[in-house]
């Protein structure tokens, strides 16, 4: 069957299994990206604004993790949260929480590294003003985040792209369990291995459509922010 027809057929029929896969994919990725931005942006702002012991170590580690293979991240998290691991007592292995954690670990370095670069440029420009006004550290970080809000949309998009397309780590820690931890990418992997190429392609088309929708939505937010800034 034509993958496009199959994809649209499944979407139009609101196939329950497909809907649950799509919603789980979005919930896992949005949660991971949201947490990575909330934690990563202030870290990026601090790294760009202040010199402190261990700063270069954090920068080096976050830059190294940018290229970390997802399966390796998945393996580490598996070891940590498996029953025999130090965090086994949490009981989150093969749950969506483990998948969120894996995606969070994968996108946190992106949010730190990219935001640090954005903030560094802005911080260099604003430092004399901050020093003159004796702006405290917290306000400095808040101003940097607020002033670079348009660039942060791009960072959020980059994080989302990495999270939603990730397969290795969520497969290891989530287990690709039907009706429980199956997301778009693991479902595509499964259908491909079963020889259901049309279904796999259909799921791929849906995944692309989701990525496109998120991109369009972020562009609209970006345009709105730009308009607001001009009319601010």
């Amino acid at each position: 069957m034509d993958p496009l027809k199959l994809a649209f057929g499944m979407l139009l029929a609101l196939d329950p299994e497909l809907m649950s896969i799509i919603s789980l994919s979005l919930v896992v990725s949005f949660t991971a990206v949201g947490a990575a931005l909330v934690i990563g942006l202030p870290i990026g702002a601090l790294l760009s604004s202040y010199r402190f012991p261990g700063r270069w170590a954090i920068i080096t580690v976050s830059n190294t993790f940018l290229g970390m293979p997802p399966v390796v991240v998945g393996l580490f998290i598996y070891v940590l949260i498996s029953r025999a691991g130090p965090f086994g007592w949490l009981g989150i292995l093969y749950t969506s929480y483990a998948m969120m954690l894996a995606q969070f670990v994968l996108v946190l370095p992106i949010s730190i590294a990219l935001s640090r670069q954005v903030f560094e440029t802005l911080n260099n420009e604003y430092t004399p003003l901050f020093l003159s006004l004796r702006t405290n550290k917290v306000n400095r970080v808040l101003v940097l985040i607020s002033e670079s809000r348009i660039a942060l949309i791009t960072i959020a998009l980059a994080c989302f792209g990495r999270a939603i397309s990730e397969v290795g780590a969520v497969m290891i820690v989530g287990g690709n369990i039907r009706h429980s931890t199956r997301v778009m990418t693991t479902a595509i992997g499964l259908e491909t291995s079963r020889g259901e190429l049309a279904k796999a392609l259909a799921l791929g088309v849906v995944l692309l459509a989701i990525a496109l929708s998120v991109n369009i939505a972020s562009q609209m937010i970006r345009s709105k922010l730009e308009r607001n800034i001009i009319n601010d």
Binding site: E125, Y126, P128, L129, L131, S132, L133, R134, V143, E147, I229, I230, N231, D232
Partner: protein, 226 residues
């Protein structure tokens, strides 16, 4: 010890700044009278901006002493205004957080910027941006104001408007230390002149005396080419 006479708003003794193997300020001694308007002159790279920024606390001194008003009583306006990416009004409130709205409007009116209050600060013209930076600095009523070539990139009209604002601030009792590369402007505004060369303060005199006949040959040469 620095002589803490009441009529000096800021004093520096043996002020030295050393960076990357270079001496940027070399044992500078100065006393700035409260309420005066002092023009800091010198060639490019002489150390004018370094001196202003060090006196204001933006650059750390390597050695020497500075005795001036508390940080919140001093302000600086840079050659290229540093403005946040928000409306002129919001930028103003950031640099003057306690200013009531009525004062805000009065300051914008003083600068002739009433119509631009809600314009994005980066969309203002160069002259308007510098006026915004200046009223942002003046609104908190500093006792000491540093101006680092505030009109260097501006046209005649904007320069005149800025000079009038500087004149008004000085008339209201603000002590001003500014740098300029414009001799006519320096002669129009200055009461005192500090001449700096290669990080050393070579002259500190009344403006009329300095422009009449500088003591140092290098200052004389500088004036002839200004």
């Amino acid at each position: 010890m620095i002589d803490k006479k009441i009529n000096f708003i800021i004093q520096a003794k043996d002020l030295t700044v050393f960076r990357n193997g270079k001496t940027l300020l070399d044992r500078v001694n100065l006393d700035i009278e409260r309420g005066s308007l002092t023009m800091l002159l010198g060639h490019n790279g002489a150390g004018k901006s370094v001196l202003l920024r060090t006196l204001h606390g933006l650059l750390a001194k390597t050695d020497g002493q500075i005795n001036g008003p508390p940080a919140k009583r001093q302000k600086i306006v840079f050659q290229k205004p540093i403005l946040l990416r928000r409306s002129a009004r919001k930028h103003f409130h950031f640099v003057c957080p306690g200013c009531p709205d009525t004062d805000t409007e009065a300051w914008f009116a003083h600068a002739g910027l009433q119509a631009q209050m809600d314009t994005h600060a980066h969309q203002l013209s160069g002259g308007e941006q510098q006026k915004l930076a200046l009223i942002g600095a003046l609104a908190s009523q500093p006792s000491l104001l540093f101006l680092d070539e505030p009109t260097s990139h501006l046209d005649y009209e904007s320069t005149t408007a800025i000079e009038q604002m500087i004149h008004d601030a000085h008339a209201n009792g603000t002590t001003i230390i500014m740098t300029s590369h414009n001799r006519a402007q320096a002669e129009r505004l200055a009461q005192q002149v500090l001449f700096i060369h290669a990080g050393q303060l070579l002259e500190s005199r009344a403006a009329a005396d300095f422009f009449d006949k500088p003591t140092e040959p290098i200052a004389d040469n500088f004036l002839n080419h200004l």
